[in-house]
Structures are given as C-alpha cells and as structure tokens.
C-alpha cells in the first residue's frame, strides 16, 4: 500500500504530474506517446513512469508490443481522503471561530 508522502512526492515533479494529468484526460497511453510531450530521453520517461507505478498512481498492461499506462484510482484515494479530512477540520474551526468572534464583545 503506497503511503501518502510517496504519493505527494511522486506528483510533486512537473513531468510526472503532467503525465498523470494527460492520462486523466486521455485514458490509456503508451510510454512512447507520453514521452512525446517532453524534451527528455526515453529512459528518463521510463524512470518517471516507474516512480508513478511504485507510488501506486499508475498501472501498466501489455498489449501486443506496447506497454500501456493508465491512472489507478485507488492510488489517488488516500490523497482525496487526506484532503477531505483537512477540509472538515478547518471548516469546523472556521464555524467556531465565527462564533467566538461574535461572542467576545464588540470589535474595537
């Protein structure tokens, strides 16, 4: 199970983020197709894809001579959970802050 820092670290790189972003929009693509977006070598693209797979964000399957990559939703679910929990914590705080400001007398 990938941990959250690994997910964050994997997505914090501009090339890797662009790869995930493109796969979210276009579905499934080969390493070759993905590499065309960037001015970097095929091994470098391959390394980025490896890090994303390691983090559980991408899955790969073989079809004919190609390896096709797509986004693994489960790999992003921890991220979504984290964001939801943070949002709820601060929403509650904001509500209570609003009451506290009102209850602590007139503004000066």
């Amino acid at each position: 199970m990938p941990d959250l820092p690994q997910t964050f670290a994997a997505l914090a790189d501009p090339v890797r983020f662009a790869i995930v972003d493109r796969l979210l929009r276009e579905g499934e693509l080969s390493a070759g197709d993905l590499g065309k977006d960037f001015d970097i070598s095929a091994p470098a693209v391959s390394q980025h894809l490896g890090i994303l797979r390691e983090a559980g964000i991408l899955t790969r399957r073989a079809r004919a001579q190609k390896r096709l990559y797509s986004v693994e939703p489960q790999g992003l679910s921890d991220l979504v959970d984290w964001a939801n929990a943070a949002r709820q914590f601060w929403e509650s705080g904001m509500n209570r802050l609003e009451r506290a400001l009102k209850n602590q007398g007139p503004t000066q």
């Binding site: 941990d3 959250l4 820092p5 964050f8 997505l11 914090a12 501009p14 983020f17 662009a18 995930v20 972003d21 979210l24 929009r25 986004v71 939703p73 489960q74 992003l76 679910s77 991220l79 979504v80 984290w82 964001a83 943070a86 949002r87 709820q88 914590f89 601060w90 929403e91 509650s92 705080g93 904001m94 509500n95 209570r96 802050l97 609003e98 009451r99 506290a100 400001l101 602590q104 503004t107 000066q108």
Partner: protein, 145 residues
Amino acid sequence: MIDVTLTRRFDAPPTRVFAFVTQPDMLALWWGHDGWSIEEAELDFTRPGPWFAKMRSDEGNPFHHGGEVLSTGDMTVTFSWQWLNANGRQSDVSTVTFSVTADGDGSLFTIHHTGLPDDDFGRSHEMGWNASLARLTAFASTQSS
C-alpha cells in the same frame, strides 16, 4: 486535491482576526471540530517554535497533533502539522498557512493546508496545478465510490 484552501469573511478588523488565529487563549476558543475538547495544548502561533494540541472527541477518542511554527509575518503565519498517536508515532507532515487581509470593514481569513513541502508547493502553482488537481480529485471520487 493535494492542497486545501478555505477562505471566509469575518465582520471584524484584520488585527482582531489575526489575534484570534495566533494567540493561545483565543486559539483555544475555536481549534478543532465541534464537540472536541482540548485537554492540553501549546497553541501559540505568535512566535517560531513547537506547538501541539491534545484533544478528545465527543466520543472520547484522543486526538493529538502538533508541529513547528516555521515563520511568522505581518498577518501571516506558517506551521508544520502532523497527527501523533499514543506511541508518539507520527503521520505525514503537512504545512499550514494562515493569512488575514482587509476586506472593506471586515477581514478575509484564508487557511491553506498542503501535503507538499514548501519548496514544491511554490512550484506547483507555476504549473497551474490546481485545475489539474480538481480533475484528479473528481476522477478519484467517481472511481472509488
């Protein structure tokens, strides 16, 4: 979404709102979820250094978190954040920034909470990353539900 941003308008001047979100006695009035109580805390965002809060939910579950106040400025403060369990084991470190700005005769209070380290976060904005994250979140939500 990798980072969470909330902004709310309050009908009070910025200096007053900023006091409420940085000074210990005032932070204690609103910190945490509804129904949670603070059992012990060092909630002081007026100076660099450690902070923590030991809380208990209305169901009796303990919640302990803390971190380090990283920088304080004019109407802004940044601190690290992590959940701690009974054994002192720590969750992932994230970063929170509070900022207060004037809005007419009131104030806007913004909370920015990000799982990314500071350096990466600045860069993420240049990449126009928020729109993409919205897409990513929507995708993950539909797939996992």
